[in-house]
């Protein structure tokens, strides 16, 4: 079987659920406790897309490193970027929109960027109306698992399609 390895970077403010998304995807677990990530945590998950084995290297970057100079280097060579926000906190949404438009789509054009609105399980209609739905790629919940696997799967499919 063919085998490829790709790098996905997860960005977003503190507490939006990046680590929780990775844990849900890699280990199928969720924890209510908030343990802020220190620096970077790298995880790996292998999935199969048709006849290709896709190794996903997930770079989970601490939200408190949301300063361009610090994480710029970690984005280097990223094949995919997950820009994650917390659906109940509009300011985190504004932050990733800004990051996506001003930075990722400019300096990292080669990588596939998804805008992820997490904690969908907590979102009310009012919360949803505050976001521009056309800009959102996925609404996920690390808690219920809703859409999590699907989002990573989509990214992996993209890698396989573009990896010719």
């Amino acid at each position: 079987m063919k085998s490829i390895t790709k790098k996905i970077v997860l960005l977003g403010n503190e507490g939006v659920g990046k680590t929780s998304l990775v844990k849900r995807f890699v280990h199928s677990i969720f924890n209510d406790q908030y343990l802020s990530t220190i620096g970077i945590k790298i995880s790996k998950k292998t999935i199969q897309i048709e006849d290709t084995e896709v190794n996903l290297m997930l770079w989970d970057i601490a939200g408190n490193m949301m300063s361009k100079t610090l994480y710029q280097n970690y984005l280097k060579g990223a094949h995919g970027v997950f820009l994650v926000c917390d659906g109940t906190r509009p300011e985190t949404y504004e932050a990733v929109i800004q990051e996506k438009d001003m930075h990722i789509n400019v300096d990292f054009k080669e990588s596939i960027a998804y805008l992820i609105v997490n904690k969908s399980d907590l979102m009310t209609e009012i919360d949803k109306n505050k976001l521009e739905s056309s800009k959102v790629d996925f609404y996920t919940s690390a808690k219920t698992g809703d859409n999590v696997e699907f989002a990573f799967q989509r990214m992996a499919e993209n890698f396989v399609d573009t990896n010719t």
Partner: protein, 258 residues
């Protein structure tokens, strides 16, 4: 010789602190041996000759009581001592012998086995070839696959990238990391770098040998590969090249479990 004396003094202190309670008799023996050695060292004429004769005994006593801490300390002390002595007296005796003796005691690998290899003071545990930007593993070689290679490659790259962006000057690259008795040497090339995990005494000779090996690899086997997209095929080729380069050369030096 005063600097060397201090080092022996320190060595003695350290051994005493760690092992006195559990092994008073052994430590007394060590002190006696070190005292003898010390006395002889004060006589420069006899110096080389006597060490040649007595070092085996010293090490025989040291061996059983050597804990992890001491192991590290001795490694570094011998490194220093060796440098110091070579500079001062150009003594002809071989500290390689001493290192081998200690190593043999510590690892359970026979001296003869260790003798087979030239780079006696250290063992190479694992080699990685890693793409620079992405931190993606291009290939790895180790007889035992001690570490989760993909994750190590990523974390190493993250650390490297952090250090280089936080403290680095223009064009400077991280060259080594140390942890306890382990050292990770990094050899940087344009699009990828090699990381070598070693245990024990790493001297300039080993570093150079590895450098040559990697230059050679980069020039020949890896030079012809296109790393545009790292896939299973590339990984296989690189791992074959790495194992060819390191299996024979360092095979005998790989440490047995201890």
């Amino acid at each position: 010789m005063s600097q060397d004396m201090n080092q022996f003094e320190e060595l003695r202190r350290l051994i005493l602190e760690v092992d006195r309670e559990e092994n008073a008799r052994k430590t007394d023996e060590i002190i006696t041996k070190l005292d003898e050695l010390e006395k002889e060292l004060n006589d420069p004429d006899k110096f080389a000759n006597v060490i040649q004769q007595s070092k085996a005994e010293v090490i025989d006593v040291l061996g059983p009581v050597m804990g992890k801490m001491i192991k590290k300390f001795i490694s570094s002390e011998i490194e220093k001592l060796k440098e110091g002595i070579e500079r001062k007296s150009k003594a002809i005796f071989s500290f390689e012998f001493l290192k081998r003796k200690i190593k043999s005691k510590m690892t359970g690998v026979s001296e003869e086995e260790l003798l087979l290899s030239d780079s006696i003071g250290s063992s190479l545990l694992q080699v990685f070839a890693i793409e620079k930007d992405t931190g993606i593993l291009i290939g790895t070689y180790s007889p035992k696959n001690i570490l989760e290679a993909d994750l190590v490659a990523g974390m190493l790259s993250a650390i490297k990238s952090f250090v280089e962006s936080a403290f680095g000057e223009e064009d400077s690259e991280l060259e080594s990391l140390s942890y306890s008795n382990y050292k990770i040497l990094l050899y940087n090339f344009n699009r990828y770098y090699f990381a070598c995990v070693l245990e024990g005494i790493i001297d300039a000779k080993i570093k150079e040998e590895l450098q040559d090996e990697f230059l050679n690899l980069a020039d020949k086997e890896l030079g012809s590969l296109s790393f545009k997209k790292i896939d299973g095929d590339i990984r296989k080729k690189v791992e074959l090249a790495l194992s060819k380069a390191f299996e024979l050369k360092y095979g005998a030096n790989f440490r047995a479990d201890n």
